[in-house]
Symmetry: C2
Subunit: 386 residues, 2 copies
C-alpha cells in the first residue's frame, strides 16, 4: 500500500479543511456574508502579491486571467515585447497576436532564461513597445525570471510590465509594488492551495492608466467593470463563490505563517530537491531554477514516460513530465503550496527506487540523504530570499 501523493506543478494538493469548506451547503452569492468573503479574499491576495492595488478575482483558469491582463495593457495595433522561455511565454505571445498586437518575442532556449540584458537591448530596439510580458516561473521548464531587475528596467519607460505569476504567487518572492509590476495574473490551483476554477488579476495605477486609453475588446474579461464592482465587494457575474469561501481558508494559512516565511519554506524545499536529484546523478534542466518546482533532465538511456508511469503505479507518486517537445525528456517535481518536506522526501525516495528498478546505477539512500542534509543545513545558508 502506498498513498497517492500529488507533486505536479498544478493542480496541487488542497488542505483537508479547505476541502471540507467545499462540501458545505451552497449559500447565495449576493449577501453580506458573500461580500465579506470577497473582501477578505481580496485583502489576502493583496498580501500574497504584496500590493496595495486592485485585485480582481475571475472565474476562469490562469490563461483567462492573463488574457484579461493582456487585452487591457495595450490596444490592437500596438507593439509589445514578450519574453518566451517556454510554453507559457509562447502562449501569451500567441494571445497578443490573436488580438492584433505586434508582439515581439525575446526567446531563450528551453531550460534557459531571458536575461534583463536581453530585455534592455530589446527595449532600446523597440522604444515604441507599450508593454513587456514575462512569466515569473515558467512552469514548462522550471526556470525563474529576474522580476526585480526587469521591473527596474521597465519602470524607466512608459511601457507596462505584465507578469504571469501562475506558479509563483504564494511560493516565490514576489513584491508587486516594490518591483513595479503593473499587471499580475495567477490561478487558484498552484501555491494558493485550492482546486482550479478561480484566477486573479492585480493591476497597478500605471496599469489602470494604460487600460483607460482603450476599450477592452471583451465583455466577460472587462477588468474595469469588474474593478468597479469589486470595490463594492461584488462581482459583475456569478462568481465561483464556494471556491472563494474555501480560498479564504487557504489564504488564512499563508497570513498566519507570514509571506516571507512561506517564500523561505519554498526556497528550502527547492534547495533540498535540487541537492537530491543531483545526488541521484541527474541533471537540473533549468539554468536558473524556480522555487516552485524542479525540472530534471531524464538520462538519455532512460524513458521519461516509463519513469512517470512506474512512480505512479508502483509508489503512488504523481509527478509531471515535459510538455510538447520536452515530452519524455524531463521530469517536473513540484514543491509548492500544500506539499511539505516529507512529501518531497517520499517523491525522492520513490524516484530513487524507480531509477534502480530501471537499472540506473544509484546507491539506495543517496537521494534522500542528500535531501535531508540540504534541508537541515538550509537554515544557516544564504540561499534564503529574505
Amino acid at each position: 500500500m502506498f498513498k497517492y501523493r500529488l507533486l505536479t506543478p498544478g493542480p496541487t494538493p488542497v488542505p483537508e479543511d479547505t476541502l471540507l469548506e467545499l462540501a458545505r451547503p451552497v449559500p447565495h452569492h449576493r449577501t453580506a456574508e458573500a461580500r465579506q468573503i470577497l473582501a477578505d479574499v481580496v485583502e489576502g491576495l493583496r498580501y500574497v502579491f504584496q500590493t496595495r492595488g486592485d485585485v480582481i478575482p475571475l472565474t476562469c483558469s490562469g490563461t483567462g486571467a492573463m488574457e484579461a491582463a493582456l487585452i487591457h495593457a495595450v490596444p490592437r495595433g500596438a507593439k509589445a515585447l514578450c519574453l518566451v522561455a517556454g510554453k507559457f511565454g509562447e502562449r501569451w505571445h500567441q494571445i497578443w497576436r490573436t488580438y492584433g498586437v505586434e508582439s515581439v518575442a525575446i526567446t531563450a532556449p528551453p531550460g534557459q532564461v531571458v536575461t534583463p540584458a536581453m530585455v534592455e537591448t530589446a527595449l532600446r530596439q523597440h522604444p515604441d513597445a507599450q508593454a513587456v510580458c514575462v512569466v515569473h516561473c515558467e512552469t514548462s521548464t522550471g526556470v525563474k525570471h529576474d522580476l526585480k531587475a526587469l521591473g527596474e528596467l521597465v519602470a524607466q519607460t512608459d511601457a507596462v510590465l505584465l507578469v504571469d505569476a501562475v506558479s509563483s504567487a504564494g511560493a516565490m518572492e514576489l513584491r508587486m509594488d516594490d518591483w513595479h509590476i503593473d499587471f499580475l495574473a495567477t490561478g487558484s490551483q498552484k501555491a494558493l492551495m485550492l482546486p482550479p476554477g478561480l484566477a486573479f488579476v492585480a493591476v497597478s495605477d500605471k496599469g489602470w492608466r494604460a487600460a483607460q486609453r482603450h476599450q477592452p475588446p471583451a465583455f466577460y474579461f472587462d477588468l474595469k467593470k469588474a474593478r468597479d464592482k469589486i470595490r463594492e465587494h461584488d462581482t459583475p457575474f456569478t462568481p465561483a463563490h464556494t471556491l472563494l469561501r474555501a480560498l479564504r481558508r487557504s489564504l488564512e494559512k499563508i497570513r498566519t505563517e507570514g509571506i516571507e516565511a512561506v517564500w523561505w519554506r519554498h526556497a528550502r524545499l527547492a534547495h533540498a530537491c535540487r541537492a537530491a536529484v543531483q545526488a541521484l546523478g541527474l541533471e537540473l534542466f533549468a539554468t536558473v531554477p524556480a522555487e516552485s518546482l524542479t525540472a530534471v533532465r531524464v538520462p538519455a538511456q532512460l524513458d521519461g514516460q516509463e519513469i512517470l508511469r512506474r512512480l505512479e503505479k508502483d509508489y503512488g507518486i504523481k509527478l509531471a513530465g515535459g510538455q510538447d517537445q520536452l515530452k519524455g525528456k524531463i521530469l517536473r517535481i513540484a514543491h509548492m503550496g500544500y506539499i511539505d518536506f516529507f512529501d518531497l522526501l517520499a517523491a525522492i525516495a520513490a524516484l530513487e527506487l524507480v531509477l534502480r528498478d530501471l537499472g540506473f546505477d544509484v546507491p539506495a539512500g543517496r537521494g534522500v540523504a542528500a535531501a535531508q542534509r540540504a534541508f537541515a543545513e538550509f537554515h544557516c545558508s544564504s540561499g534564503s530570499s529574505n
Copy 2:
C-alpha cells in the same frame, strides 16, 4: 429554529453527495480517469440538452459561455437579432455591440415575452440577419420563450439560433436537435445542481459552419480549439476538474430519473407554486411563466425588500427579489434543480406568515392548501410537457 432553505434562481442547493465529491482529494487533470470524467460529463450534458452535437465545458460563468457562443455565431460587422425581455436578453445585446455586431433588439416589456410573430416580422425586415439570440427562461422576469416555434422559424433561414438556457437546461423541456438550436449555453449553478464555476456551450453542425467563416476574436473562449481537445477528452486549459467530477454525480441523478420526468417534475412544482401565490392574493408577474421559477408581483402597499428580509431572518427562506428597475417590485421563487415540493411548501408557508406579519390580509393555510391541491392533482392535468 428554522433551517436555511435556498430557493433563489441560482445558485441553487447542491445534493449532499455532490458536495462530498467536492471534498475529495484533488487528482491530476491529465489522466485516464480525468478523461473518463470529461467524457461522462459531455455524454450527460448531451442527454440533458437532447443533442448529438458537441458539448464544450468551460471554466467560467454562464455569461462567459454565452459570450463564447455569440462571438462564434457571427463576425464583426454582421447583423443579428436579439430578443430582449429582461436583463439577460439585454446583456447578450450588449455583448454583441461590444464586438461590433449590429444587434437589433426585439423588445418586450418586463414580464412579457417576445412572440414568434414578432420575430417572424423582424426576420422579414432584416433578411440579412445572420443570427437570432433568445433567452429560454428569462431569469430576471420569470418568462419563457417559445423555443420550438422560434426554432422552426429560424431553421427556414440561413441564420443560426442562439439560446441562453442558463436557468432552463435540466428543468424545462428543451430539445436542442429537434428544435433546431445551433448554439446553446448554460451554467452549472442552476438546474444542474452544482456550485457556480462551470458553464457549457453546445453547438450544432449549422453552428459550426457559421463559426468556420471567421476567426473568433478571443483565445480562452476559442470554441473550435476547445472542440478539438474535447473530442479527445481533453481541455485546452486547466479546467475546474473537481467541479467536473462532482457534476458527473449530479448528472447521474438526472439520467436515473429520466429527462422527461425531470421536466414533468419541474412543471408540477411550477403549477403548485403559481396556484399557491395566486391563492395568497398575489399576481404572477410573467404572462408566460417559466417552469424554473415563479416571479410574483409585490402588492403596492408592501415593501418587497422587507418581505425578503423577513423571510430570511425570521424563517430561513432565501428568495430573490427583482433586479435593477424591478428591485422591490417582484419576488422570485425558484423551484429548479435540487429543490423539492416540500422545500417549496416551506417557502409558501413562510411567505404566507410574512404577509400576515406585515398586515396583508390572508387566511392562514390558504397558500399551502392551494399548493398541495395543485401538486396532488397535477398528475391528471394536461399541464405536463410530455
